[in-house]
Symmetry: C3
């Protein structure tokens, strides 16, 4: 056996300011669009219909915003999270340009924070990951932080640097796709009559439907984004013989389910925060509810922004997220905070 395979980076392999070029750029196309619709109950009209997108000022229907996210994220896995113990959080995510069929996406990550844990065996790494298309245009940028094992517990701790991250992406920094215009928006074709002014901060929407997850589906989805983390594919990897569903699969499921009640929250443009509260496994029936957190204007005609908490659950009722101990209830899978664009 020779040492040509990638066993992933360990905590001591990261240095502040380091920029990692992630391998294997990926050309996305009509096939990825179709698979997204086969794998998730996605129905937002701007991502379903070229005609709807054209009537909204775009040249055609861009790929789902989460296709961009999963692709950029997937590229980073072999370098960032192959030895991760946990994916701890997201911040400052902004979608900067739409991704179109035929675009080739590559991604890089810059290490912006490091903190060894007190146990001396793990540490937290903060990276800002950026996806870029074939023309060198940034399409997405976000921060995530992961807990990573040390290869050698005796390796010296790096200087602790915890980045100062925004709690929320400021609405004025959200990027609305060029040309987007919701002044002629067709609410009947979009599926619901509710416009931005119909939503109020604090409002909670139960998205009603549930989807029972299958192994083949989450593996196909995760593979499609070239995410290589063993836990998703290899039933022998965990002692309990279960494969862990990629957290991003739950994000896409919940976002697609949120169509029912949020059909007009058309495009995701900002990611404020996110927690994968509990693991998801095949056989779980995923449901979702959303809470309106904020509402904002944009400079584009007829286009507003809505800040939403999107929660995915696997059972249980109600919208209480945490117990008396401050921990997420075991049925909570995802707690995501994002900005979407909606007709005003």
């Amino acid at each position: 056996m020779t040492g040509k395979t990638n066993h992933g980076r360990f905590f001591e392999d990261y240095a502040l300011g380091q920029v990692i070029v992630h391998a294997v750029p990926r050309t996305l196309g009509q096939g990825e669009r179709a698979l997204y619709h086969a794998l998730y109950p996605a129905r937002h009209s701007l991502h379903s219909s070229d005609e709807f997108a054209r009537a909204s000022g775009l040249s055609a229907s861009p790929l789902d915003d989460l296709v961009a996210f999963h692709t950029v994220f997937g590229k980073s896995v072999p370098d960032i999270s192959l030895n991760a113990v946990a994916n701890l959080g997201y911040a400052e995510g902004r979608w900067l340009a739409s991704v179109w069929p035929g675009d080739t996406i590559a991604s890089t990550s810059e290490v912006i924070g490091l903190k060894q844990n007190s146990n001396g065996r793990t540490g937290v790494v903060w990276v800002r990951t950026t996806g870029r298309n074939q023309d060198g245009i940034d399409v997405l940028s976000y921060v995530r932080w992961v807990m990573v094992r040390k290869r050698d517990p005796e390796a010296p701790a790096p200087e602790t640097v915890v980045p100062d991250l925004a709690q929320v992406v400021a609405p004025e920094s959200l990027v609305v796709p060029r040309g987007l215009d919701f002044t002629g928006y067709d609410f009947a074709l979009a599926g619901e009559p509710h416009r931005l002014s119909d939503y109020a901060p604090g409002e909670i929407i139960d998205h009603v439907d549930g989807v029972t997850v299958e192994e083949a589906e989450h593996m196909m989805a995760t593979r499609l984004w070239q995410n290589t983390a063993k836990v998703h594919f290899d039933a022998t990897n965990r002692e309990d013989g279960r494969r862990l569903v990629y957290g991003g699969h739950v994000i896409s499921l919940a976002r697609a389910l949120s169509f029912n009640g949020l059909a007009n929250a058309q495009m995701i443009v900002g990611l404020n925060a996110g927690a994968h509260a509990n693991p998801c496994f095949s056989g779980d029936t995923v449901r979702a509810w959303s809470q309106v957190l904020d509402i904002a204007k944009t400079g584009s005609p007829g286009v507003g922004a809505i800040r939403l908490r999107l929660v995915a659950t696997k059972a249980g009722n109600g919208t209480e997220l945490r117990g008396a101990d401050g921990k997420y209830h075991p049925h909570v899978l995802l707690d995501l905070d994002y900005w979407a664009l909606m007709p005003v």
Copy 2:
């Protein structure tokens, strides 16, 4: 919780003559074509090969006729069958124009019949559903009727109107795609030597092969058509914890299996009748047989029409459909009556 989600229409929400615009138009492409081949053992050459389609006078291979059907049908589910107790029948289905990669399909339904059941808790709704492409050209039209729950059993019954539907689509009203010409048909490449004159009304063909259905497959297929009926996706929806396979999935499986013996029944152009005789579940092994019901001419060179009964079963032998009580045998899944085009 706020009331922004769609809980579907109930019987008293329909009115005769009402036209319902279904939401979320859908652009179909090369990805849907590939997925159709991955999900069904489809091999009809006109839908498999651009070259074969060109040699038959078309500009390229259109999307499978059932892709058009499932898409148009799927759009109608949130408005027509979300609270349906049963999908009772089809009639007067005609494929009016081919669907090509890049086309965007929207659909509308007109209520053409209403009849409250004697129990006062349900009623039958007849709708004529029409799919239309981005140029406003109708691609498919068919009638279906469903049994729908009433929201309020006390709501007054509407006037009973039962539409007068044709038993069979008249062969002279079938639309042959413009340019279709089978005079130079290559039977070797198509897979079988049998032409229309080799088939005789009454003849029965056992299609031999079987396909065991998986949850991931029927859910991916059904999602691809943006069909939102809970029973297909949510294992907690039924008391027995089983997900019901979308009836259209069985249609596509059976039609694809019918290649073996009907390889030259290339395009579906008419839907005369159809019954989903019994539910299909994951683990069932679906088989199919066909009976030739009629044969007809068309005005296009070398192109004839064959009327077929297509039966899907999940076990059991023989071609007896019903027991002494007149009811379908429990192993019969589908009893479909359609017209296809075949070289004369």
Copy 3:
């Protein structure tokens, strides 16, 4: 019931020199590319990124070499292996031209060898199968031999002709895609720093990762190539109720897994030999290791060839292939010998 269905050829239906035109040409596109990435953990950059392919002198990213193989192979199944007892071997496989989205592939087989077995009930058939695109250009040619049942054990044995097959495709006969140039190869984007000169014959690489196989996945893959062999799809076909995974599915899984350690073995250009050592079933966790067998030059700038043994296993450790009895160990699924192109 009438006899219009294909029950496949039996041993006595083959004659030396016979050329069989396989039915149902297939147009391949962006959808097949996306599905390949969903079904296999494929990451070789030349097949993932149009930009990487252009930087390597090609006009865009061709479809994966194994997409061509599976398609050409799948066409041949109804004529060659529907009644096959076993797929015995491969030889003299050469990829002759890349397959691009939009290409239509048809295939033919010539019978080049026949040998009745001493039991009188089966025989071995050798065929040379060739895939051709819509321009009449050969894209792939390979020899395989299968053991086929006789319909009638009393049928006379044909004259025994065993073709003289090359043990290895001579490296000078390998076809490098026109224009391929690895002189500006970007090892960071490709994912690994190892070039041809870093590998030595005899070297063994453990590809580390494992993939647990699901029924839905192998059936979707096998259907996508229009492979019709019952054993892959019909759980009632075998007494044990198990569906056999198509051997080519294991080839693609193992090849994709081999990215980890052989990321720069970009394109498959030759198939020297191959054995499906043991059957693979749903639930098996497939792993892979490779051994470098040879290294050669090509006439293209910066492009070398590496001959690899690719072994897929379903459990067990170590790289011993056979027991004392000369038979493959039960955990060995695949033993493949191929040539790939790699930057020198």
